[in-house]
């Protein structure tokens, strides 16, 4: 301990206790001091995405890049017409980034901090279902416009309704029903199915909805095993052995993080993809990272028609180029999702501003403009038709992975698009109940 003794003097009790008092006082007062009046030209957006941990690489970072691409373009007025006005309602955007890690309790307090201490005008974010469910009521309580770009749990708008919360994407029912349709169409002889899904609400819901929908379409089908490895598990040795042993026709998986990449590597090395058809309901973000390491023929979606599955439109072309310019990699679906949320926000602000004859609209005015908004995003039409106009109603797409060796790029074959009316419950009906009730009212093209 002798080496540290001189240091002790510096850290003398008095010195530190004064420091302690100053720290508490300053930290409380910086928040307590009245914030300088918000300049009319800036709009402060709090962005909450996974910046650390296992979800950051495949999800959080591309999602943040999507936000950044749009902020740069909106501030510079660079999005193609009709969105080529500068700023949102004329205001330049300033973003504050917060890590989504630490659990829902932490995130709720951080949400309050964003609103009450940092005085943001809008919050965009939340990937994890647990976090978005926890934050939504607080957003309503604090009257804070909150746009959720990614989180997929159906419970968000099925179990409650919110005034200030918007989700610019369909819930996970869409993925599961779309997956069942794709198998039915492309592999009509598939009878035995197995699941390997992460052991948390997302994985459990995804698997349940998929196998219920599949059973409905193929009444003589059979589930051979349901594996639920721990979220972000690294090795799947035993799970793959079970899947090899049971030889299912189809293996369904809603893995999405680094664990998906580990699973694909181990499954491919042991030839699992040659025995069974593997369907990854949200494998697109990992696809580019894996490249040639992803075996051909695996069925993949992007939680909707995003990324390579997105239809080619001028707006989509622009987005791909703008993103690629900034980040040298192609945008993946989390990038698309945050980008379309930002775009929706801009449209709502501009519309609200117009409605009041120019100037910065109030939050309530933006909310009104956002409700039931229908807009053309990057290769997809977003129709805020669900949840009293707060939740998007979109279709999905599935395709089979093919690595193009000549160009070194990941592509798809046999792409199928599914209309929103085909893969979603009718308005006002809970997704799970709809599937259990025989998916009545579905309109598939």
């Amino acid at each position: 301990m002798s080496a540290v003794k001189p240091m002790r003097k510096i850290f003398s009790a008095r010195f530190l206790s004064v420091g302690l008092g100053v720290f508490i006082a300053v930290s409380l007062l910086t928040g307590a001091a009245p914030q300088k009046a918000q300049a009319a030209e800036t709009l402060k957006i709090g962005v909450v995405l996974f910046l650390s941990g296992a979800a950051a690489g495949p999800f959080g970072i591309p999602a943040r890049n999507g936000v950044e691409t749009l902020i740069a373009a909106i501030n510079g007025g660079k999005i193609p017409a009709p969105y080529n006005t500068k700023g949102m309602a004329g205001a330049q955007i300033e973003a504050v980034y917060i890590d989504e890690s630490g659990g829902a309790t932490k995130q709720v307090t951080e949400f309050r901090n964003l609103v009450q201490r940092q005085k943001v005008d809008v919050v965009v974010g939340y990937i994890s279902s647990g976090n978005c469910i926890a934050v939504a009521p607080v957003a309503d309580e604090l009257k804070m416009l909150t746009v959720i770009p990614i989180c997929g749990t159906p419970r968000l708008f099925e179990d409650a309704s919110y005034k200030y919360v918007f989700r610019t994407i369909s819930d996970s029912i869409t993925d599961s029903v779309g997956a069942a349709h794709y198998i039915k169409e492309k592999f009509p002889n598939a009878r035995t199915i197995a699941g390997i899904n992460p052991n948390y609400a997302w994985g459990q819901d995804s698997w349940r909805d998929f196998h219920l929908a599949f059973k409905l379409m193929n009444p003589d089908s059979e589930i051979v095993t349901e594996q639920f490895p721990k979220l972000f598990a690294g090795t799947f040795t035993s799970e793959i052995s079970v899947l090899l042993r049971k030889k299912p026709d189809v293996i369904h998986s809603s893995l999405w993080g680094a664990d998906l990449e580990s699973f694909v590597n181990q499954a491919a090395a042991r030839g699992l993809n040659k025995r069974s058809k593997i369907i990854l309901t949200i494998g697109e973000a990992n696809m580019f990272r894996l490249g040639a390491k992803m075996p051909d023929g695996i069925i993949i979606s992007a939680r909707g028609p995003y990324g390579v599955l997105a239809r080619q439109t001028p707006l989509n072309d622009w987005f791909r180029a703008a993103y690629q310019d900034l980040f040298t990699a192609p945008p993946v679906y989390p990038s698309y999702m945050t980008a379309q949320a930002m775009l929706g926000l801009k449209i709502a602000y501009d519309k609200a501003s117009q409605a009041r004859g120019g100037g910065m609209p109030s939050t309530e005015e933006v909310v009104k403009a956002f409700e039931y908004l229908k807009y053309e995003a990057f290769g997809i039409t977003i129709d805020m038709a669900y949840g009293n106009g707060h939740q998007a109603f979109t279709g999905t797409a599935y395709g089979q992975f093919k690595f193009d060796k000549s160009t070194g790029t990941a592509t798809f074959t046999d792409i199928m698009w599914f209309d929103p009316e085909c893969v979603n419950a009718p308005k006002g009906m809970k997704g799970a109940a709809w599937i259990k009730g025989g998916m009545k009212g579905a309109k598939c093209g």
């Binding site: 052991n199 690294g234 680094a258 030839g271």
Partner: protein
Amino acid sequence: MLTLIAILLDGLIFASWIFIVAVGLTLIFGVMRILNIAHGSLYAFGAYVAAWLVGQYLSAGYAPMGSFAVLLLSAIIVGVPMGFIMERGLLRFMYGRDEVIMVLVTYAVFLILEDAIMLIWGTDAYFAFEPYSLLGNTEIEALVFSNYDLAMIALALVVGALLWWGLNHTRVGKYLQVVIHDRELAQALGINVTRVFTITFMVGAVLGALGGAFTAPQISVTPGMGVEVIVLAFAVVVIGGMGSFPGAVVGAVLVGIIRAAAVHLLPQLELFIIYAVMALVLVFRPQGLFGQAEARKI
């Protein structure tokens, strides 16, 4: 029958992996009475360095088989300096403090290293998948096993044998055993306990990194990968008996087989079962299967 073979092999593969990590943990605990949470960080560092080095090595066009040597090398270049710095630079100023304080010191180091990983390697995943499929597969009826996984069993056996030999047939090993048995006696015998501590910590660190390095070719190496392994390795060590070498062997095999059996037969119990086994063992044998109960002299 096939199920049985699958459970056995899967269990042994899992056991081999967790044994390599846990034996380092139990060694450090046995000798130094430190429950090293930063062991998980060493595991992660081993994986990162291995993934990065293997990538470099292969893109330079050297013989693919040499990548196994690169994995081994990664463990050493992570474990030796990091173990040395952690023990010499930090832990030795803390000796004599309460065991729980020592746990917290390593917890603080763990927090620091978690972010250090992101500073060094960023948040993107690293892949070093090539070595995993280099050795081909073995087919047993419907089952296909990667020979790399089977080689992990061999690696664990080699590590175990080397450690056993090192503990029983080298001077340092015998010193270690004396220190594990009775620290005061060791000092009375004139054993340089300080040096024994440093060596132990470095060996433990290399083992942690080795576990990570050889896991790297199987997985996508990302931040946060060290968290889970700590609790799992703790569970193995507690089941086997803290500080006991045979305990680590038996604990690892027990956990491996039981977990594999759960995955094959009752997948819904997977998350639950290891802790249930741990609680059961603690209830009936608090000191672990091979731990020694210490009675207080009056």
